[in-house]
Subunit: 165 residues, 2 copies
Amino acid sequence: MSDVDNPQTVPEADAAALSMAVRQLFRRLRAEAEPGAFNLSEVSTLARLDLHGPATTASLARAEAMTPQSMGAILVSLERKGLIERHPHPTDRRQTLLALTAAGRCERQRRSAAKRDWLVAAMERLDEAERRALIAAIPLIARLGENEGPADSREAPPRAEHAGG
Amino acid sequence: MSDVDNPQTVPEADAAALSMAVRQLFRRLRAEAEPGAFNLSEVSTLARLDLHGPATTASLARAEAMTPQSMGAILVSLERKGLIERHPHPTDRRQTLLALTAAGRCERQRRSAAKRDWLVAAMERLDEAERRALIAAIPLIARLGENEGPADSREAPPRAEHAGG
DNA sequence: TATTGTTATACTCTATAACTATA
DNA sequence: TATAGTTATAGAGTATAACAATA
């Protein structure tokens, strides 16, 4: 009778293993990014704008669980690359809506269609059961990354923004 | 995320979702670290030294999938905190063995026993089936982070270039 | 010549603080 | 006062390059 018996107890070993696995995969993801190309946040933001349409800096920041300033830097980078453009908000002049340009949408598609990056390839190397197990865990990982702050909730009020359809 | 019908085809959407989930959880993990305390790499290295015994910079770097220089910086930090110490390798004078000090082992235990960091707490919020699914995926994530490089394998870098001047 | 490790340096990503403009 | 956004600055984490010592 160990941990399975008491669902309230998660062995620290599992948390440590998850932490390490996530950290290594993250570093690997980052290392794979070609220099000068998009980083992970840019890709993610581009995808979000493509899937959900124009959005503001603040809403993107919330969705990606980062500060508006950090998101602002990402948006500046994307704008410099000509992938997004800014439009005034129709009613609230404080806000600015970010939208994909034609070039941005094209880049998105190029990435999806042609590039087939190493993560896709690596996932294809798993057998079917493993792949199913991995995919089943994705929303759980996302939930761990999203939710309840321990002491200081970042700034994530229960907002119905979801990633990755 | 569905489309598991064709095992040869991993939808890019799944890869993108995994990438995003991992990225967010990583940022969250990093953000949770108290300033001045250990970062994720330090914790991981400390754990490795505790579990596997003394090791060299190079072997630790390989194990953590990072460069020896980066690992060196982590080790310097741990050494300054008095958590590890260096011992000469018995036969090869190029090598230095890193080992936990008593203080290092104590810190490790303190972390495991007392701290119960937010990741453990977050995992406890999952129901049992979810937790099982998550834990089942951990080795798969680890494998994705470890294995075969697409173009440049980290483990065995082809030394195509020798210094000329 | 290859390997172990160190030092110096630079870059990427994200955070905090301070500010302006609008609501 | 609260919210949206920008600018400036700082920091963590890791990488590359150049080097020295040993094998």
